[in-house]
Amino acid sequence: MDFVILSLVMLAIGIYGLLTNRQLLKVFISVELIATAATLNFVMLASSASQGLGQAFLILAFSTDTAVSGVVLALLVIVTKKYGTSNINEILKMQEKKGSEAEQ
């Protein structure tokens, strides 16, 4: 059992989801998975060397992760209310339309 490979696979899944999903909430879930993969690697390596410092840094990583989640969710609510959809492609299309109308 190797936790480095496990977290690497999880990181790959998260990056794949980040690149392929078009729903804003799914993109956010991908970001959460990437953060979980990073903390998993960190804690497992530290606890296998019986270090308490790994868990202490995990708390700092969690607080940063929570701050990022708060900002992303606030932006997500604003964008979804402004455009009426949470699909990235549709939002980009609307923005292009707005841009071309403004040029004319």
Partner: protein, 153 residues
């Protein structure tokens, strides 16, 4: 054996969280991911990390369930059983390298710092600064949403 089962569950729930069509179900699968991660920490002896993972996971999931209900399109199609089986199979296959391969090597860097020592003596300033960052971020989000509301009026 327990670690292998937990790692398979972790990757299966991660695949389900990303590729299920219904947002609420994918948030439920993300709950499974957080739970399996917390269990992995607990089995490996990182009890504090398991507790924090669990608590932060519960908070994140509560917000995600709310926003998922609020923001998702109601007319999304349902996931077919074939796709569900394919996702579970992909999760199991992806967890095989972690179970059978090994790349780790001992670095020889060991310290006897306990969790309490490490948190308050070695990184106490970091903890206080992080609390400040969280407070600033909360204030920033409140300002963003307040301005938005006043512009809407």
């Amino acid at each position: 054996m327990i670690l292998e089962i937990l790692s398979i569950g972790l990757l299966v729930s991660a695949c389900l969280a990303l590729f299920l069509d219904e947002v609420v179900y994918s948030v439920a699968a993300l709950a499974g991911t957080f739970l399996f991660t917390a269990l992995l920490y607990y089995v490996n002896g990182a009890i504090y990390a398991a507790i924090f993972q669990f608590v932060v996971g519960v908070g994140t999931l509560a917000i995600l369930f709310l926003s998922g209900e609020m923001l998702s399109d109601k007319s999304t199609k349902k996931t077919s059983p074939k796709k569900l089986a394919a996702l579970i199979g992909a999760g199991v296959v992806l967890s095989l390298p972690a179970i059978f391969l090994s790349v780790s090597s001992s670095t020889g860097v060991y310290s006897d710092a306990s969790f309490g020592d490490a948190l308050w003596n070695l990184s106490g300033v970091d903890v206080v600064l992080q609390a400040l960052v969280i407070f600033t971020v909360a204030l920033g989000i409140a300002i963003i949403l307040y301005e938005r509301r006043s512009v809407g009026k």
